[in-house]
Amino acid sequence: MATTAQQSADRQQIAQRIPGEKSSVPAFALFLGWLIPGGGHFLLGKYVRGTLLFVSILGLFLIGLGLQGKLDSFGADDLLDKLGFVGQLGSGLMFLLAKVMGWGASTVSITLQDYGTKFLLFAGLLNYISAIDAHALATGRKADLADDIVTVKRVA
């Protein structure tokens, strides 16, 4: 029967992946993380982080829509609108759904609407970061440390 320390070491070995190892998991974590906020973290078994990311990014997006923020389109003449579209596209499925359903405003006329547009932009950009974080965790580029294994003991 394995001891608790042995089980902990085994779990650690399973959780850590070799950098550069060929696998489709990192790419899928990146895609899923983009499509659904926190989806990549869920795929990797990081349920708390995934839930927090989902709630935060969805919250930003919904507040943006609630404030009648503008959903940018790539076909616009203004370069800033094109950049805004690229940023908002980071929200993945939420952005595509909002576009299809015609949610959000087409023009900005009051200050709160401008705030709403920024909320939509933040949601997209943060979701890019979140998806890349999931990818980094999957490849092993980002260390996956738990509180109990990084306690450094100073030896006098």
Partner: protein
């Protein structure tokens, strides 16, 4: 209805959570960095608001 200040608080909260999770590897450090980001976002906003008020008056 969301006021300007409550919009700032919500944005700071959500952005800090994402920054905390993605920019640190250890849960304890995630919480610390998230809290730091939140305080900085809100603190700098309040400071900038008073600065703009002072410039206007």
């Amino acid at each position: 209805m969301l006021t300007h200040f409550s919009a700032v608080l919500l944005a700071a909260l959500f952005i800090s959570i994402v920054f905390g999770i993605t920019q640190r590897a250890q849960p304890r450090m995630m919480i610390r960095f998230g809290a730091f980001c939140f305080v900085m976002f809100v603190g700098i906003t309040i400071a900038a608001s008073w600065l703009m008020w002072a410039i206007k008056h």
